[in-house]
């Protein structure tokens, strides 16, 4: 039952298409490159009355998230979108949204952080927010942006936690590609209505939201949030399968490409993962290299990764981010997921501030692997 329509869309347009079908009650946003085509596209739908969303054009990203927090606490399906400095500016409220257990959905069009100022893509912005209790889904292409919006909303509402749906700035957000979209009625059936258990405006069952907690209970509440986030591993399988039934394509938190017995596995996120898949499937790697794409980055799928990477001799990570003064995020996460391990783990960093990521970089990695030594760390 392959009911998907093929449309020519950019990643940003794919997000708009999903949001149009979801028709959330509230969207609050402030424009920032390269997120602008999402909120501009959605504003046009609001103006044309194609959706019934209350669109709040607020004065900053901090206010955008504050508005979403208020709206979500009141029981409204609430969404926003941002990038780079905008996400950094929201930082103070990110933990508030997850701590208050609000199912807000945010599209993040990943971009470098200042300074120097740079409008182009990398993962510095989203990586700086990875441990604040949000679900994080990375998208390889526009089709996955679309799917992750539908899936992300369901995961968020099931876990009562906010979700970020990431796409690579420009590479995905501004490139026009063949994209697979579900018909409106199927998407709406999948998403369903939203009836939160408790809301700020429920006079019959009054609740406190955002109450203060002292040392006597704070620890327990923090652990509740941690457990709720880890439960998303389970929900992803369940709800991912449900979505895959409609899309007729696998939707997996951890996706494997290539020979199941390959001694080397390259692990990556987002658009780079597409490049790696292309390399594995269309180059003569003699079944020596396979690829793992992490679609669900938070909660980090430790157990699944231990299973899929367990037999490898070498694991190679590609990050689009530097953790200044420490190892890059994906590398750190992989090391801690596999620990203790005899597997050799190599790390490369690519695509900072929009630097091109080329097939020849992967050929270079393959040469390094043959020689048994890393000749460089950065795809400069």
């Amino acid at each position: 039952m392959n009911k998907r329509n093929i449309k020519l869309l950019t990643g940003a347009e794919a997000a708009v298409e999903a949001l149009r079908q979801i028709n959330p009650e509230v969207m609050a946003a402030y424009p920032i490159t390269p997120q602008t085509p999402i909120i501009e596209g959605y504003a046009k739908l609001v103006a044309a009355r194609k959706v019934s969303t209350e669109y709040l054009r607020v004065e900053s990203e901090h206010s955008a998230l504050a508005a979403c927090i208020g709206a979500a606490a009141s029981g409204a399906r609430s969404v926003t979108a941002t990038a780079s400095q905008g996400l950094a500016y929201m930082n103070e409220l990110l933990g508030v949204a997850s701590g208050m257990r609000l199912a807000i959905m945010m599209n993040v069009v990943t971009r470098a952080l200042s300074a120097p100022i740079n409008i182009h893509g990398d993962h510095s912005d989203i990586m700086a927010t990875r441990d604040l209790g949000w679900i994080q889904l990375f998208s390889e292409n526009a089709t996955e942006v679309y799917e992750n919006n539908l899936l992300g909303l369901r995961l968020a509402e099931r876990a009562r936690l906010p979700v970020m749906v990431a796409q690579d700035g420009f590479i995905t957000s501004h490139a026009l590609v063949n994209s697979k979209i579900l018909p409106d009625e199927i998407a709406r059936e999948f998403v369903g209505d939203y009836h939160p258990d408790s809301t700020l405006l429920d006079w019959q069952k009054p609740h406190s939201f955002g109450a203060g907690e002292l040392p006597g209970t704070f620890f327990e509440t923090a652990l509740e949030r941690e457990r709720a986030l880890n439960d998303v591993n389970k929900y992803f399988n369940e709800i991912g399968k449900e979505l895959a039934h409609y899309t007729q394509a696998n939707i997996e938190a951890v996706e494997w490409t290539g020979d199941p017995n390959a001694p080397t596995v390259i692990v990556s996120l987002g658009a780079v993962a597409g490049l790696v898949k292309e390399f594995i499937e269309n180059n003569q790697t003699d079944n020596q290299i396979a690829a793992v794409k992490i679609r669900q980055y938070r909660p980090f799928p430790d157990r699944q990764l231990r299973q899929s990477l367990g037999k490898a001799k070498t694991v190679v990570t590609i990050d689009r981010c530097i953790s200044y003064g420490a190892r890059p995020p994906l590398l750190s996460d992989i090391c801690s997921a596999l620990n203790p391990t005899p597997i050799e783990i190599w790390s490369y960093v690519a695509g900072l501030g929009g630097r091109e990521m080329k097939m020849e970089h992967l050929e270079h990695i393959a040469r390094d692997l043959k020689m048994g030594a890393q000749s460089f760390n950065y795809f400069q």
Partner: protein, 176 residues
């Protein structure tokens, strides 16, 4: 099969529009496409590039087009720019707004057409990109079909005198 097209123009000349028209045209005939501009500081008149890949299977590479099969140049002053010739090989077709004599100076595979004049005679000077879109379609008629192209132009310029744009398209298509 992958056809890689690089379009050079100046901001405001329609390089992005040309790539999108071609992308839509190929898409309508069932091809996989990928079209993306090279982003930089936005200044009217500054040189810019847009990229278009057309393939019979999904496109997953994300790099710029560094070895183009076809280079389209919207502005003849850019023929002095090194960027236009970056990565071109013996088989690369250079399609430019210039007279045939000037085109032959750029190499054997260069095809010049006086796109500005053809545009002036049809939809107006600003339709250079539509003229060159016509010429581009003529290069690979099995991929960029003229009937699909006409449909795409009518939809894209729906409230901006599309008939004149169609004329500009045919002027480019029949220029040789």
């Amino acid at each position: 099969m992958m056809w890689q097209i690089r379009v050079h123009g100046r901001a405001g000349q329609g390089a992005k529009t040309l790539a999108h028209l071609a992308a839509q045209t190929a898409f309508r005939a069932g091809w996989q496409v990928q079209a993306f501009p090279e982003y930089g500081p936005e200044r009217s008149g500054a040189p810019l590039k847009t990229y278009l890949r057309i393939s019979d299977r999904p496109i997953r590479i994300i790099e710029a087009i560094n070895r183009p099969d076809t280079v389209v140049v919207l502005d003849r002053t850019l023929l002095r720019s090194e960027a236009v010739y970056q990565g071109i090989g013996a088989k690369t077709v250079l399609l430019c707004d210039c007279e045939k004599t000037l085109a032959t100076k750029q190499g054997e595979s260069a095809q010049g057409l006086n796109a500005v004049l053809l545009a002036k005679n049809t939809a107006g000077e600003r339709a250079v990109s539509t003229v060159l879109f016509g010429a581009l379609c003529r290069l690979r008629i099995e991929i960029l079909r003229k009937d699909e192209a006409a449909h795409v132009i009518m939809a894209h310029f729906s409230n901006k005198n599309p008939e004149a744009q169609i004329e500009a398209f045919w002027a480019g298509y029949n220029a040789r």
